[in-house]
Symmetry: C2
Subunit: 217 residues, 2 copies
């Protein structure tokens, strides 16, 4: 249906414009903001819990959670020490800049240092929609398999940071690290990568150190 292409382009360009406005608001408040994306079950929420627990003694953290249904993830972030806002998208498969704007309205931005946005669990659609954060973080995980960069290129291409989670499961599943890394290098050679386990805590310090270095002092 080629007649629909101009409409899609118009929606994306309106979204990008609003994303710029969101980013300007976030910058004006002196906040560092990240957009965390992954397939369902890669460990976004566990990573956020760990991050909030480690950094909330030092920084004031806001968390915006997008989900199809339930507030399970926002509840976990709030319990860890963040100010959490839940966006239930109904059936929608990604967050967009309009939804981020309305979530920002619900937060006292002047009271925050770090804003973590947890996108919908989906390796495809969220990559198309800028929100207005500083960095895109993609979470991959060992049991998902080593072929994911090859099969979901747009998500890997657009990431600033790649977290490879659940490395504690490496002894129990077939995962060719070299095949995974080849896929990543072909799409996004400069990406910052952290291999870690949110279950054991291994490798978390490097990730936490990276965030700490990004937050405006």
């Amino acid at each position: 249906m080629p007649q629909n292409i101009p409409v899609v382009e118009k929606i994306l360009s309106a979204n990008d414009k609003l994303a710029q406005e969101n980013l300007a608001r976030i910058d004006a408040a002196g906040i560092f903001a990240i957009n965390i994306m992954a397939s369902p079950g890669a460990g976004k929420t566990s990573l956020i819990e760990r991050t909030v627990r480690a950094l909330s003694p030092k920084y004031r953290i806001g968390m915006i959670n997008g989900d199809i249904a339930t507030s399970l993830d926002a509840d976990r972030a709030a319990a860890a020490g963040a100010v959490a806002v839940q966006i239930n998208t109904g059936g929608n498969c990604h967050l967009d800049a309009v939804q981020l704007q309305s979530a920002l309205d619900q937060l006292d931005l002047s009271s925050l240092d770090l804003l973590i946005v947890e996108n919908i669990g989906n390796l495809i659609c969220p990559a198309e929609f800028k929100l207005g954060t500083h960095k895109n973080v993609i979470v991959a995980s060992i049991p998902e398999g080593d072929d994911k960069p090859h099969k979901y290129p747009s998500m890997y291409r657009g990431a600033d940071v790649l977290i490879l989670n659940k490395i504690d499961l490496l002894p129990y599943v077939p995962f060719r690290m070299e095949f995974f890394s080849q896929g990543v290098a072909a799409l996004n050679p400069g990406v910052t990568q952290f291999n870690l386990s949110c279950t054991t805590g291994e490798g978390l310090d490097a990730w936490l150190g990276w965030i700490d270095g990004q937050i405006k002092k």
Copy 2:
């Protein structure tokens, strides 16, 4: 954007109509057809490999694979003994009835007993689009976590069969079987469920027996 709703409804209804036509073609050829859906990395392709390897001595199997990029999955199914057709959707996040129709054109339907469609790795969008198969199969996996039925209700609601894969990883990850089952029961109390591991082979026989019972003799 409420003005868009009638357009979406029209697209879905055209898709459903074409799905019925696909199903009529499949039925006329005496084929049993399943649509396998899951999040990325739940193990769709491993399940299909195992299924094709076990059943191809007895039945003639076609496999239609939808993916954003690469033919890795179709290659694996073909190596296991299926006649495989690859659909690369570009950026598209689900298969639809039009794509199934053109894939059916590439197969000699009269030579097949079983048709396996592997949908795009996505727990959200594929649930909205009927293809024209007899049964929807959703593959969940232990390391994805026990909260997935609660968080992705439409996919679980529309499934005829639920496969809970990677049960060999139960000793290594936190997974509350009761919480998972509560979510499933609330959405889809009559679903046929198989717990199995494509790595060890545990539980596969029950699934293979179910498929065998569905194939027209």
